[in-house]
Amino acid sequence: MKNALLKAVLSLLFLGTLWYGLSLVDFRQAFEVESTNDTTEKLLGELIEKSMTQGALDLPEIVSPVDSIVHRICRFNSLDRSYIKVHIIDSEAVNAFALPDGHIIINSGLLANTNQTQASGVIAHEIAHITQGHVMKKLVTEIGLSVIISLVTGDTNPQLLKEIIKAISGSAYSRNLETEADLLAVDYLIAAGISPLEFADFLYTIDGNQIESNQLLEWLQSHPDSKERAKAIVAYSNEKESEKLSHTPVVSKEDWEILQSKLP
């Protein structure tokens, strides 16, 4: 028994030393992990963006206020503004979602049914998904890594692309990732001088007192548990004492009304 114990200890020491020694090697650089991840995400982002943003709305009255919101959030949170690429598409559905490589799709239906502060909350939430790398995590979980790699390396199967778009726009992130994005969005909004409470109001009332249920379907599929999320946002905002901080609108009320009037 003594022999066995001694050999067990020696074995563990040997394996432990081997593991430690090998962990000093920079495998991430050797396998080019970062650049491969970045390339895959960039290619995937380009593929999906091309597919989804044909005919994106480009009127300055629509694009400029949204751009101002994104710019304020990025500026006050030291985020790379050039990485976040916002596209507004003509869709009645009240929804917005993040794509790989920093793209955000905002449906005109969302802008039509929110004020600028509420829309800022949604945008901050999607930016949080991007900065925390949630989009690729979700895709790898739902679609699978090998499938994604086959898509970006040339297997441009339209059905596969549709599945990916459906996964991005129509299904929910895990509860952990949604909570992380919600709380980070609150931080982003507070730093940008935007009240996070209206974002919580929007989530709380999203079960459709004033919005048609067919417009909400996509939102509800991709953002379940809206009421619980709203409560968590309010609780976190109160912790941060957001009410005591000053909030200034990003664009004027008139500009937002003009935006809404210009939506198809």
Partner: protein, 144 residues
């Protein structure tokens, strides 16, 4: 690491075959066992149970095979759940992960080669002892 030593007695043809099969059991399950570490162990354990009343030579080698699979289970389970955490949760594949991956794969490879060799030699009636595992087996498995 592995030694060809003499056993308490010379095993018969049937005993040699059964003892060799205990190592073969872990190899059969290996293709499924790599992503699901428990299956190798289960296959070896079931074989051990089926032969718990067999001769000393058979029981001894069943035990050695089982103990080696137990250690593999621990190593492979850590790797499996670490990989799941990277793919499905917030963990990143850092240098420690890649280092562990290499150690685990090397351990599996060595175990695979040694198991095949031991299966072949045991089938010939030779008594192959593995470093550390044989000492543990000697402690646990006694001649009746």
């Amino acid at each position: 690491m592995i030694q060809n030593t003499s056993f308490a007695y010379t095993p018969s043809e049937e005993e040699s075959e059964k003892a060799s099969n205990s190592y073969v059991m872990s190899l059969i399950a290996i293709m499924v066992g790599l992503p699901l570490p428990i299956l190798n162990l289960l296959a070896t354990f079931i074989f051990f149970l089926a032969n718990r009343k067999a001769s000393y030579f058979v029981r001894w080698h069943c035990m050695q095979a089982l103990l080696s699979q137990l250690s593999l289970l621990v190593i492979n389970s850590v790797l499996f759940w670490w990989t799941v955490a990277i793919v499905f949760q917030n963990e990143t594949a850092d240098n420690r992960y890649f280092a562990y991956l290499i150690v685990a794969l090397t351990f599996n490879l060595i175990e695979f080669i040694v198991t095949i060799y031991t299966a072949i030699q045991t089938r010939k009636g030779k008594h192959i002892t593995w470093w550390f595992y044989s000492d543990l087996t000697n402690t646990i498995c006694k001649e009746r």
